[in-house]
Amino acid sequence: MKSRLLIPLSLGIIGFVVLLTVVAHGGQFPLLDPAGTIGLLERDLMVRTVFLMLIVVIPVFILIIFVGWFYRAENTKAKYTPNWENSAMEELIWWSVPLEIVLVLAALTWSSTHELDPMRALNHPKDPVVVEVVALPWKWLFIYPEQGIASVNEVAFPADAPIEFHITADAPMNSFWIPALGGQMYAMTGMSTSLHLIAPEPGDFAGRSANYSGEGFSQMTFTARALEDDDFENWVKDAKASGAALTPETYAVLAEPSDTGPVRYYGSVTMPFSAILNSFMSMPVMDHIEHH
């Protein structure tokens, strides 16, 4: 029965793989060919880890298939040793070989975790552009302290320049993630987490929240735009000319739970990031919500 099964089984697997490649053909794979340098380093780390593990996994798969097939009951030619139950030699092998692989992986983990620490500055000739991110009930607010402007659901920064994100929230926990540029970081109320990314080439990248935060979570997407230096200047000028102002009052309206809405800009900012961050220290949250 077993061998009769091998042909349909292998045909099924090949057919399934072909079906998958056809179906997945259309989409982009930001995690496999990222645009940001940090994303590239994280992908290389992923690939290296997978290859290290394949050293053990592939032989195990082959061993299972061979042993499972060769020692089937029908094959009476195979050796049969019903009472062979222990051998120090084999035990030593499969305690020590995985241990060595894990030691290599552990060294790789220790160095890569420190190297790719999201809170770590990027040493780059240009000084970093600081962008303050606030996760609101189902929309993203971006504040530019130096430029004195703010935007919703769209963040722009010069290409080939380090970006220093300071992230907080005025909503249930979210996670700020631009897959094409690099790893995500949680956005939490009363906490300021930081993330350092860089986009060597100009381009538009999809960004979204990666942690469920209520009904509008699926809509919480934004576009991250890496621009040439002069394009970025024009973008800042357009935002300044938008005429809307981010004041404590307009911020309060914005922070109301609502659908994500269109991209919009604020020419001036009088509700700074620190005010949002510290608004959670003193007031009990119930008053905080009522007075919106």
């Binding site: 099924g12 997945a24 995690l31 890569s112 620490d117 249930p172 926990m173 790893g183 949680y186 997407t221």
Partner: protein
Amino acid sequence: MFGILTPEAFIHGPIETGAQLIVVGGALSVVLLLTITKRWKWLWTEWLTSLDAKRIGIMYLILAGLMLARGGVDALMMRSQQAVAVGAGTGYLSPDHFAQVFTAHGVIMIFFVAMTFMFGLINCILPLQIGTRDVSFPLLNSISFWLTATGAVLVNLSLVVGAFAATGWLAYPPLSEIAYSPGVGVDYYIWALQISGIGTLLAAVNFIVTIIKERAPGMTLMRMPIFVWTVLGSMLLVLFAFPILTGTMTMLALDRVLGMHFFSTDLGGNAMMYVNLIWAWGHPEVYILILPAFGIFSEIVPVFSQKRLFGYTSMVVATMAIVLLSFGVWVHHFFTMGAGANVNAFFGIATMVIAIPTGVKVFNWIFTMFRGRIKYTVPMLWFMGFLFSFILGGMTGVLMSVPAVDFQLHNSLFLVAHFHNMVIGGVLFGYFCGFAYWFPKIFGFGLNEMLGKVSYWLWIVGFAMAFIPLYILGMMGMTRRLDFVDAASGYHPLLVLAAVGAGIIALGAAAQFICYAVSTFERKRHMDRTGDYWNGRTLEWSVPSPAPFYNFAHIPTVHGRDAWWTMKEKKQTHEAGYQDILLPKNSCVGLLIAGFSFLFGFGMVWHMWWLLPVSLIGIFVTIVVRSFADETEYVVPAHLVKATEQRHHK
């Protein structure tokens, strides 16, 4: 009087009303059937008040089957919603309803399918394997089952009245705090987990004492079957992990009811601590589920390779290494919270170290098969399915234990595919394998092999087709818990494929149900006359099938590992003559305590405060009355034992 319970709580949208009708209709039809066939008395004496571990085990298995159906429907709703919803608001489920579905799916599958299935198999088989007539505390065993059943009732009651939590199966604050989740959903979640959690903890105490104190003479620790070792490891993990869940749920309940500030966003509360504490329980929980599955494989691989288990000591060391290490890894669930490189690296490396003992187990199974005579019965097929799925799942798990890689893969569908590889491919396949292997011992007749294989292959194909696309979607940057996707994202075709896969899994589950029904009808054809259906190696195969209510007429003395195999080889016969046997009488204390706990939970959910003292006094009175019961055991006369034994061996 009714707290915040109002008639509106009974009215829902179209889909929930459908679910309401199924739940209420199902319950009513059972009541009707029992009244027509006049089987209330039989139900009360044979099942509801029974203290026989085997009966309680069968009730656990039935509860697990019902909850698997409920959790499976949730899964189908999620897959079909994502396959249909392209663009905002296009799916048939509203975002809030979709959130309730994936939260209920997680809670039901982990707490009321996997844990109940595990306790079902343990209750049916463990006492037989260690050669004892009952667990150490039979009444506590009944109380534990009925508390778990109460938790399941509370979760499903949220379909009928009120709503369930819409926060994800671990209900992270601030979303689960009263400010952002004002409804009763999170309260249903908390009290279903608290009540079933206490039941699980008491069951763990029961089985730890049973394994350590009730083994047959001669069965030293190193002669116990590996399934008993893994259950001991799993119960120790329950003993040490569930109190952390109880503490964390208490703090969340106090935040919501008394306005405390453990995890609130203001006045010093710290939501990150909830994440830390819930995962300090969360990770040991997944090892609680997988260890007995490892134990089941260590039982069936030797039997179907017709060879002794390879490396018994190494398996025991690996099990206990996993038990200890599982308490040192929980931060890999929140690397992206930003605890700093030192913390992330330490816990990432600890996670990899756990892969070593797990790998050792796989090698020991393979070398049990090496130079054996492998019979590909249905249990052995489930084991092969487990092997391939679990190794892929283990690889993706170790991949995500590297923090810098996890920053990209956290909360993505890659993660979802990984843990389904471990929970379906590992835990569920393990328990299906155990159920198919011990079905003859529990019910007395074998399962239809052909239908068993059909359902196996449907499960395997459906499982691969449903979750391999999710790995690919994870690489495309799709996160979990999305109730719609954009057309431009290119995710849609793969989601349709995954939905087809989920449909095939549903066919597989249906085929299993048909297999059980057909096997019951044609049970005459494959009765288990000898009690040793698979030419087994451990003590449960030394008694007739289904095992008599007293388990062993003569408590066996054990002379080595694979106790039944050595007894068969030595043709060891037990001494002649039968003695009276003492067994625990039926008791309704389990039902009463669970009923009062239900009132307590319902009162907490709907703020009917008067119910709390009433239910607590009820429990106190029940215990006091029980303390006066002196004749808690009845005698099984020797001649009845003799008659039962002879009827089986004719």
